[in-house]
């Protein structure tokens, strides 16, 4: 064979081969390639490898996909998930003796608060201010207003006005450089009064102590997350969203940790802890460990994802149980939506969790004193912190409260899924870079079909343009898909007025239905654009497009998995098989069905059903559809209100990539 090098080796090449320590006078002879790089530099090996990739592509892909799913399922297997442990020195070794005894006082505060709340018909700002003041806190209020991009029908709000009230307990003799936050949402109806009561009782007790080294902020926020976002933005003096707030603010330095408390009954049977924050961010595992440690110390029953811990671990039901917990966590993290008011703190690098008091039909109940003691203990340990919480894990999955899966263990599951896309892309690339001997002019002498040096390999499709469709063919579909994504991102909110004028729907419905309409219409848009260009009819056209789509998808999912593993994994698990299988000349109906099932919207729908199944409240088809509509609206709102990323990611990245695959399927 006459091969892909210039007749005379260049000086650089000669020198390199000299440096390589070969005795051969001819450079690049492959008799003794270095062991580490032999696979790629030895043409024999390379040819064998590419043959392997080509021949065994489908089995390899299937194997890799199964391995990925299997790995993920194995994560819930207890021996693979180590026990959690406290990493932070300042919190681990110190002893705290809790002395909070004012459970009755908390309840009387709660009753008083409930009465005033009823009287005012909202947040009793004046009463709260007066009470906090009489407890010896520095009290501030922060009025805020926010007009939602479209009405939120599930919570019935559009133009929101509210007031946050907070009191600062100044640490004695300290200079207000650090603080901790205890926040309680003031929700409508009879909910959460006990949390306010307990917070006030704790504030009264904390005020009398002199050991505080950090200021403590007691915050009652109205309109749950909206109020929290307004408060956090005002505290940090930034404007990320369009919330407007006023009032002079007292500040207490850098917030180190925050706990959000939700409690709606006088006694509790258990505590549920929520960790997932905005965009699937998680607090440092040490904060969770701290809560768990104090629950155990006070004999409090605590759960995660509403699932009780099991004592056994080596039985099949136990495995199923932890798998359910893990799946619930993955689903809720993937939704990118904060599972409690703590979720917005994480953006500011403030470690935060939400504690929810549950009162179920269990026999053994805990009173306010025990709950207060737990919180007191946590705050005193947080008060001991020398540094921000940073010692423990920030990326983890929890199959139960006492066990965790760290990023090093769960990432391979995702890696195997992405490997499918890469194998498929490699397969296409090798096929594409092989110029068919039959059609077109003979292969260019400079560019050998296989094995070519890597640097030339990249250029082949460009140079082969004369005989095959070039990259130009790909431009219209890519542009159209991206434009469809952009339309999906912008139009629903921009066009809501037009939609409500022409159709008998409310604004919120208009937004959701427009989004779905654009989503579906995107599938009908672009199938014939490439026909305009000549020479697009061969197989190479769709292969190049598919190659591009696969790489695009792999890149997106890879980046996403680093930020929000759960969303990345769920999308990969659904989209990868369809993306790998799709081609225009096959069982087209079957493939189309598979691809439709793999679309992100279908993933969302399936996720909703799965979630309802896991919390043992299965949804019927109609209810599931309603939930789906609500989730779409919620996703848009979350993005506009708090800057949540799943909606823009799906609209601007995943959906266009999926449309490209759809294009491949209908390539003529």
């Amino acid at each position: 064979m006459s091969l892909g090098s210039a007749p005379r080796p260049g000086p650089l090449r000669r020198r390199l081969s000299g440096l390589g320590g070969r005795r051969d006078p001819e450079p690049g002879l492959s008799n003794t390639p270095p062991a580490a790089m032999g696979l790629l530099s030895d043409p024999h090996y390379r040819r064998a490898l590419s043959r392997l990739v080509l021949r065994l592509n489908t089995p390899l892909c299937a194997l890799s996909y199964v391995a990925g799913l299997g790995w993920f399922l194995a994560l819930a297997f207890q021996p693979l998930a180590p026990r959690t442990y406290m990493s932070e020195n300042a919190m681990g070794s110190t002893m705290v003796e809790e002395q909070f005894l004012f459970g009755e006082r908390a309840l009387s505060y709660a009753r008083e608060f409930a009465g005033h709340k009823k009287k005012v018909g909202g947040m009793p700002v004046a009463w709260l201010e007066k009470t906090m003041w009489s407890l010896g806190l520095e009290v501030y209020q922060q009025p805020f207003a926010r007009t939602l991009p479209f009405p939120d029908e599930t919570r019935e709000r559009y133009m929101v006005k509210g007031t946050n009230v907070y009191g600062i307990l100044r640490a004695p003799r300290a200079a207000s450089t650090e603080s901790l936050v205890l926040s309680v949402p003031c929700t409508e109806g009879p909910h959460n009064n006990q949390a306010v009561g307990l917070m006030l009782a704790l504030a009264a007790y904390f005020r009398g102590q002199i050991y505080w080294a950090k200021d403590i902020i007691f915050l009652v926020n109205e309109h749950d997350l909206l109020g929290m976002e307004a408060w956090l933005e005002a505290y940090h003096d930034v404007n990320v969203t369009e919330v407007r707030s006023s009032g002079t603010l007292g500040r207490a330095g850098a917030i180190q940790a925050a706990i959000s408390l939700e409690l709606s009954s006088d006694v509790v049977t258990s505590f549920d802890v929520a960790v997932e924050g905005l965009n699937g961010q998680l607090p440092n595992l040490d904060l969770l460990n701290l809560f768990h440690a104090f629950c155990q110390k006070n004999g409090l029953l605590c759960t995660i994802q509403g699932k009780l811990p099991r004592s056994d671990w080596d039985s099949l039901p136990a495995y199923a149980h932890s798998l359910q917990t893990l799946l619930l966590m993955v689903l809720s993290q993937a939704s990118g939506r904060p599972r409690g008011d703590h979720g917005l703190f994480l953006r500011y690098r403030i470690e935060a969790i939400t504690l929810r008091g549950i009162n179920s039909f269990r026999q053994y109940k805990y009173d306010m004193t025990t709950v207060g003691k737990t919180l007191e203990g946590m705050f005193r340990k947080l008060n001991n912190l020398l540094e921000r919480l940073h010692q423990s894990y920030f990326f983890y999955l929890l199959p139960s409260l006492s066990r965790f899966v760290s990023i090093g263990i769960y990432m391979p599951a995702f890696g195997f899924l992405i490997l499918v896309l890469i194998l498929k892309a490699l397969d296409l690339w090798l096929k594409l870079s092989k110029c068919e001997p039959g059609g077109g002019p003979p292969p260019h002498p400079l560019f050998p079909p296989l094995p070519a040096p890597t640097i030339f390999l990249i250029l082949i499709p460009l140079f082969c343009q004369d005989s095959r469709p070039g990259l130009l063919v790909l431009v219209p579909p890519v542009l159209i898909c991206q434009a469809a994504g952009l339309a999906l991102y912008c139009l629903p909110v921009l066009g809501q007025r037009v939609a409500t004028q022409h159709f008998p729907v409310s604004e919120a419905e208009a937004v959701v239905l427009t989004a779905i309409a654009i989503y579906v219409a995107g599938m009908a848009l672009p199938h014939s654009t490439h026909r305009v260009l000549a020479g697009a009819s061969s197989d190479r056209g769709w292969m190049t497009l598919k190659l591009l789509a696969l790489l695009y998808l792999a890149l997106q999912l890879g980046c996403l998995a680093l930020l929000n593993f759960s969303l990345g994994f769920l999308l990969a698990a659904t989209m990868v098989p369809a993306a790998a299988a799709v081609q225009p000349n096959g069982p087209r109906v079957l493939l189309a069905a598979l691809l439709v099932l793999a679309t992100p919207a279908a993933t969302l729908l399936l996720g909703i059903f799965l979630q309802r199944e896991l919390v043992e409240a299965p949804a019927a088809a109609g209810e599931g559809w309603q939930l789906f509509l609500a989730a779409v609206g919620e996703g848009l709102l979350q993005h506009h209100l708090y800057g949540a990323l799943p909606f823009p990611f799906l609209a601007l990245c995943a959906y266009p990539a999926w449309l490209l695959l759809w294009n491949v399927l209908f390539w003529k």
């Binding site: 030895d42 200079a175 005020r207």
Partner: protein, 477 residues
Amino acid sequence: MAAAAGALFLLLVAAAGPGRAGAGRARRDALREELLLSPLPAGDVAATFQFRTRWDADLPRGAGTDHHLLRYAVLPREVVCTENLTPWKKLLPCGSKAGLAVLLKAERLFHSSYHSQAVHIRPICRDASCLAVSWELRQTLTVVFDTFSSGQGKKDWSLFKMFSRTLTDACPLASQSKVYVDISPKNKEKELLEVTPTPASVYEAIVQGDKRTYAVYDLLSPSLFNTSRSLNVQLKWKRPQDSSELPTPILHAQRYVSGYGLQTGEISTLIYNTHPYRAFPVILLETVPWYLRLYVHTLTIITKGKENKPSYIHYQPAQDRRRPHLLEMLIQLPANSVTKITIQFERALLKWTEYTPDPNHGFYVSSSVLSALVPSVIAMKDVDVEQSPLFTSLFPSSDGSSYFVRLYTEPLLVNLPTPDFSMPYNVICLTCTVVAVCYGSFYNLLTRTFHVEEPTRGGLAKRLANIIRKFRGVPPL
């Protein structure tokens, strides 16, 4: 109040030391001591001790301070505690054995919500012609006891309750030893406080633009200890406090870091002038460590929505690892206004040996200092400095219409990008692996070409011959 309670400020005036002069002949007026008790509107009580020791030095008064020797240093991380109190007490002529100093019991002083301690040394003129100077050592200590942490909710105070001691005598070396209690009536109504025992005299003064009345107990007067052997001043509120309306000081400030993330940030300072009709200038002195790289072009000063151009700016840029940024500005504060001063910064990457222990705690930025002549609401009359109580010198007034205030804002805690110090070994291993495996082989692949040489195998005979030659150790055919 934006006074930094805990930070330890060191003001070093590098003038000549006091020398040996005057040490031997302690005169009777060498020490003046006093305690000022001022009940605060919320029911707390502030106690300020002031001790002034004076001795004559033989040094002539210099032509002025050499400003090159003037140093300003702050340790914002340091908090005042017992180890600062003990040496401070040792500077007193009577130690803590007699006089007002018996009240200085560390256990009680640090069971308070505010604690501030100071030492000042300054030369003062011995007479009007000022040919010779005396040296004065002034020690002040202020603590605030609050009703919540020490009073079990009761708002009545006594010396015994505050310090768990009572006064029995004056320091034998003191020329003056007095206890003042602020009994000023609020809003010209009847007095709110009842003080026992009944004070011998009452003193009226204008402090910080406010008319104040003080009950005076002179420990040197023999009549005081006639009836009882110890003095335990008691304060009783006559009526419950209407505590929700606190008087706001005319000048106060707030400082904070805004923004999030570890790349940039913004230092914001809010300065409030609550005077109803007078504007006044304020000097803002800011020192920012070099590892916050200030963007000076982003300095904005906004008052009432408009830009407020400072009349004077002195800026000394930082030098890495050598000196901090120094920014000094003279700003006019309009009446009844809030002035917001913001400046953006970038967080620098330190060398890994430069991080302090506990680097994730953050790095401190010292307080900025606000100095102003605050216009007084009430006209003040000039008083004889020597005769007036010492505490008035804490708030010296230049003329009758204004008084001097110096405020220290909060120190700031800023997080810098911090490496994970627990895994240098992992990082080294990973880096080496990446370089060795990926870089090496990719470089090799990109710079060299490989091609297959079609083996000309020849016949079976040749191959056999070659095998035999190989065994013999001669090169093949």
